[in-house]
Homo-oligomer: 383 residues x 2
């Protein structure tokens, strides 16, 4: 069997300047400067999801975070192929949703817009990053052009990118990233696939982490279905150098999740999660509701390109929310969401570290027991 | 956070009478008495997949295994709802496959049969189990009737059952099973869902293991995407008391896999896996080939019920195999199949144990490093 690069390695922690192997997932729309700063203050890596921000609002969030912590944090950008507008498809999608708008007393927008720009083409965002120089920048949905990568690296910024397959991870490595986020199918929120129209094998975190540890020379960050210290210990056992948790941080006091989102996440009778394109136009995992169901009906027209579809959903869910209806909301959640617990982020990171220590200790204890038991079993056979 | 039942616990190992926390997945059609006996001799739990066997052929395989080892092993039975025949649907499926049969110089069968009986209704199989009394019996696709469970328990047999969700695991617990196999979406072969027509959230092993450890009081056996000692260490870190590996054992000398299957599994350029109903009528994960593609085409008719569809695929793949064509074969494989390595089963179990020890040791080392690094980081902040 091949060696396990990474497992007894803290290179990544040193490179990121963090004390514990815990990364808060960026989560555009859910993360806040307060959340990112709290996680970084607690020794992990806090993150800001800036994929939906303009260069100027992104700059403000970075400065707000800096005002709260002197420690390193991560800012995440979306590198999707810019949307292909299709007026006919967008009109058909709006027509399909018209009755839903009516049911919440609203009128559908006349047209749908590409509500935010890919970092691929956003030069203002890139210049802002070079000026602000956050310690870490991470990419989702693909990789930026080589020139942007070179300029960020020259600015001393540590670069991460998401991969959902070994093929994507090999491209991440070839592009010169410092580490790869192995995003398993369990993960909540947007799936980081480079091309949403290619076949997606949907690889689980357990398999993907191991495939990337064995198949690349990059430090691996495991993501998807990890909610507690036992999950982090499992990620490290697989050879990851850190674990990235999203859903676990949604329930934190400092997140931007509204009360309906928190209630849905923490409900006693938990809704199943589902992978849907109906909300944004790209596959993303969230708690099933009327909006995700609308994407699954047989008479559903093709969903507009990302993020054009998101413009419709944001209008619909805002109108519904005004009536106390959360059935069209993007309640992103991973498959282990039922394990979420509400608490301040610093307390969560401290609990994760305690649990991680306990899990590693318990693994040693169980090994000692089965080694002893094994000797017993072997002796019984000999006797 | 709740406690982690199981993690420093070897109850399950004692109950199963095994020395190391490794179970070879049953794999009907792939497992053999030689494979099961070799795994049990090495201190794990070998398994026979008897779901496709008659009572008498199952008895023979149990006796053949007993002739090779005095140690405990597991026999697996299928508990699916008996097939609903639908002559019209079966004729349409055969008509759809007619050109494929022709392409390999064969004629489709005139009709399709229910090629094996569910343990739900197989009284002869049940009586054979009560007579032969294997140490462990495991169930897939659901649970047998209460009377059969009571009689097996009265015979002193340890009982296991597969669950793919917390809801199924709660039914496994309520039925009085001794442990639950948490089968994640990564797993190769047939998915153990109780009802293939219900919505399947497709939960990954990382999330599912944790949900079942937290949500049931049963010992949990993690399965899906586990190929090496690092994966077993991760399963134990999640609170599982053992790991079940299937694909890793397909490549063993003692398995019944034919040379085309071995070649496909060990190929340098690895095919993706896919979840298909086209082979057997129930969802199962295998290497993508022409047969799995046929199930995905838009003009594909509804696939006959399990195991009726399997009758067609077995005829087609046998005819193709005679011409050296493996494009219709059931090459079951999990999502981490690329990590498979060919070797005798006893050698594989020994390697897994060595790797497991290394992984636990490496986790301790990495913890020591980040604790030290953490003190350093904290001191740097104080200074």
């Amino acid at each position: 069997m091949k060696s396990r690069p990474g497992i007894d390695d803290v290179r990544l922690l040193e490179r990121l300047g963090i004390a514990v192997p815990i990364i808060q997932a960026p989560m555009a729309g859910v993360s806040t400067p307060a959340l990112a700063a709290a996680v970084s203050e607690a020794g992990g890596l806090g993150s800001l999801g800036l994929g939906a921000a303009t260069a100027e609002s992104a700059r403000t969030m970075i400065r707000q975070t800096r005002a709260l912590t002197a420690k390193p944090f991560n800012v995440n950008l979306f590198c999707h192929r810019p949307a292909k507008a299709n007026a006919q498809a967008e009109a058909a999608w709006l027509a399909y949703l018209a009755m839903e708008f009516r049911s919440v007393g609203a009128t559908p927008p006349a047209v749908l817009r590409e509500i935010y720009q890919s970092y691929q083409t956003d030069e203002a965002m890139h210049q802002m990053l070079l000026e602000e120089r956050p310690a870490v920048v991470s990419f989702h949905f693909g990789l930026p052009p080589a020139r942007k990568i070179a300029e960020l690296k020259a600015a001393g910024i540590v670069l991460l990118a998401t991969a959902t397959s070994l093929q994507e991870a090999q491209r991440v490595q070839a592009a010169g990233m410092d580490a790869v986020v192995a995003q398993g199918i369990e993960a909540g929120g947007h799936r980081g696939v480079f091309d949403p129209n290619e076949l997606d094998e949907g690889i689980g975190t357990m398999a993907l982490t191991r495939l990337l540890v064995q198949g690349t020379s990059l430090p691996v960050i495991a993501a998807g279905g990890i909610m507690d210290g036992a999950g982090i210990a499992a990620a490290l056992a697989l050879g990851a150098q850190a674990a990235q948790l999203g859903t676990a941080f949604v329930a934190c006091t400092e997140s931007a999740a509204d009360s309906a989102y928190r209630q849905a996440l923490l409900a006693d009778t938990h809704r199943a999660t589902t992978m849907t394109r109906a909300i944004s136009g790209r596959p993303a995992r969230g708690l099933a509701n009327r909006m995700t169901m609308l994407g699954e009906l047989l008479d559903a027209p093709p969903i507009p390109d990302y993020p054009i579809a998101y413009d419709a959903e944001k209008a619909l869910s805002a109108a519904a929310k005004a009536k106390g209806n959360a059935e069209y909301a993007a309640h992103w959640a991973g498959q282990a969401a039922a394990l979420a617990q509400p608490m301040p982020a610093q307390q969560l990171v401290a609990a994760l570290v305690t649990e991680l220590r306990c899990s590693i200790g318990a693994l040693r204890d169980v090994q000692a027991k089965w080694e002893e038991h094994r000797v017993g079993a072997v002796e019984a056979v000999i006797a």
